[in-house]
Symmetry: C2
Subunit: 370 residues, 2 copies
């Protein structure tokens, strides 16, 4: 199968590597605005041949993945479709409505327009660039496809089979539903984290007095703040409507909690926090699909090797750590480790193992941080 | 020095342990509503003697730490002061205005009221209970003291010296400033995380279709959601005014970003995200006081032992990991690790070490997650 990849970064490069490993007779042509990226992709074996343009990469291909930044997707997809032929064209952008609009708005012959199917692999939190591409990036990952009523069945089927072969779980979803979902679980958290950082910086950086540690809750809540400004500008703009709706709903909920607080309604506050606890647990369990997730806290000396020692002990016993956060004390001499583990007896087993190393450990169930 | 500890959980127990280790001739009497807690405190050597009441613990003491939950502080502090004598009484609650109000509102003789000084050690993210108490919990930690113009110098000085001896950095701050600061860096993030979880649960749990991973940004942003409902009810209620002000400012900022988005002002969005990036970096550097913090991303197989291997290699080379987050892929077979390291060459050194282990690694500077 001849495959064209437009944009050979982390995602494009990983598609190339996975295709070589998992698709019989895959031959991959790549195009990228950056020569250095193309060189690196060729050297890593992600592509077999460099092309001088999107059109020449697509010529003769059965499948084309457009892996450009979101802001450049529309144009690149149209270029790939305009090259004609029988190629199924997809993209990997984080928002889907805008690129579908671009295709709809262009006066393409129906035969060309019907060959486009929007796509979005949820491939995690890797560093960007083809250097970080890997053949198993999509293994088990959800890969959304957003066909429309114009989509040709043959081309959809070809794309679906290829994505499944790459190891992903292809899932068809309407573009608008996709964008609303991403607005909820990804775009809204980003906006909120940015706002929180701004507000804290205003208070803390402009105060005269010596300032304290911001603390773990702040650190966790703002971890995604300030990520890649141009990428995020494009995500925010291309998913503007869904994000506006999420922000509106959030503002309303914020108003409600302000009222509850103004009324000093303690019972309602307890109810509200308990609900959040249950909701997060259910979402995490959905998320990690590994059954119940338990949170542990360990108190440890903060010296090199401790994280290793703990992780090693758990690893050897087969306890699966799905998340971990370190909370060093201000002197950096001691600290706490939060661990999230799966499995029915994972938590008890972990506590036992950690205590055997001589560190106090506990399953957190009512939380402690204040 | 005779010390009374009212409430022997994590903080009270740690004060007892630290006092025994660091204060010459410390003799510690403890009282707690829970007999089991008192037994455990005695057994761990956090206290020398159980008392039957707060008053009898305080009798003859020079220093008393009230370490009850925030909601019970006012009453417990008044009880300790009412026992008379010459004891300096302090507390360790997360909010300070309310407990000062309780003391001010009680018709105590001036000699008694002047012996109270509010306090709040920032002691991190440990699990609660005396089982997790440790003598070095306060080593290097900021310990806020909130004296008023009624505070007796002799008692303040006694408390200040003891806290310094326990290893903490005592810092005097007006109670209102303390509460505003905590509202910004701790209470606001908690409220926002709870709201975010509610909203996502509304969208995700009630949808019919199969649902995706919520993703790392959601996980990070909601890590503190749902923590200890009654503790947080009391924090929210006792710091109501400052939190209302923070929520109001946040709602205004949310309105502004909604306008920017409505106007599709891309330049302003980029500027806004860049500012958030810079702000967070500056706050983290303040926070960790260890110079610049760099973020790395590694792509690794997700199998037991990998975290250990990476942490071990970095630890042996003296690279200090201050934060860490795991992002397993949905299949749990692969994933990314985000690491935050300090030191001028910490990041480059870490990348080199990790790549020597055979895993791709990169310093994140423009962010990648989308």
């Amino acid at each position: 199968m001849n495959i064209a990849i437009i944009g050979v970064g982390l995602i494009g490069g990983s598609i190339g590597l996975a295709a070589h490993e998992r698709l019989d007779g895959a031959f991959v042509r790549g195009f990228d605005a950056s020569d250095a990226a193309l060189d690196a992709a060729l050297e890593r074996g992600a592509i077999d041949e460099r092309s001088d343009s999107a059109a020449s990469a697509v010529a003769g291909a059965e499948l084309c993945f457009v892996c450009c930044p979101v802001g450049a997707l529309g144009e690149a997809v149209l270029e790939a479709l305009s090259a004609g032929g029988d190629c199924a064209v997809s993209d990997v952008g984080s928002t889907k409505h805008a690129v579908l609009e671009s295709v709809a708005a262009a006066a393409l012959p129906e035969a060309d327009a019907s060959r486009f199917i929007g796509g979005h692999p949820l491939s995690g939190a890797e560093a960007s660039g083809v250097a970080h591409a890997r053949a198993n990036l999509f293994e088990g990952a959800t890969w959304y496809l957003t066909p429309t009523d114009r989509t040709s069945g043959i081309h959809y089927d070809r794309l679906y089979r290829a994505i499944s072969a790459l190891g992903a779980r292809a899932a068809a979803v309407p573009a608008d539903a996709h964008d609303r979902l991403m607005a909820t679980v990804s775009h809204l958290p980003h906006v909120l984290a940015n706002l929180l950082v701004h507000q804290a910086a205003g208070t803390l950086l402009e105060e005269d007095q010596a300032l304290p540690a911001t603390g773990p809750s702040f650190r966790d809540a703002t971890r995604v703040a300030g990520t890649n400004p141009t990428l995020w500008r494009d995500i925010l703009l291309t998913n503007r409507e869904a994000i506006e709706a999420e922000l509106g709903a959030y503002a309303d909920a914020l108003d409600r909690v302000r009222s509850t607080l103004r009324e000093s309604d303690g019972d309602e506050l307890v109810h509200w926090i308990e609900q959040a606890r249950g909701d997060r647990q259910r979402l995490l369990e959905l998320d990690l699909a590994g059954g119940p997730v338990s949170e542990l806290r360990l108190s440890v000396p903060n010296k090199p090797g401790i994280v290793a020692q703990v992780a090693l002990a758990l690893g050897e016993a087969g306890v699966n750590i799905v998340d971990m956060a370190l909370y060093p004390a201000p002197d950096m001499q001691s600290g706490a480790i939060a661990l999230w583990v799966t499995g029915e007896h994972g938590a008890e087993r972990a506590v036992e193992l950690v205590e055997r190393l001589g560190y106090p450990a506990a399953v957190v169930d009512a939380g402690d941080e204040a």
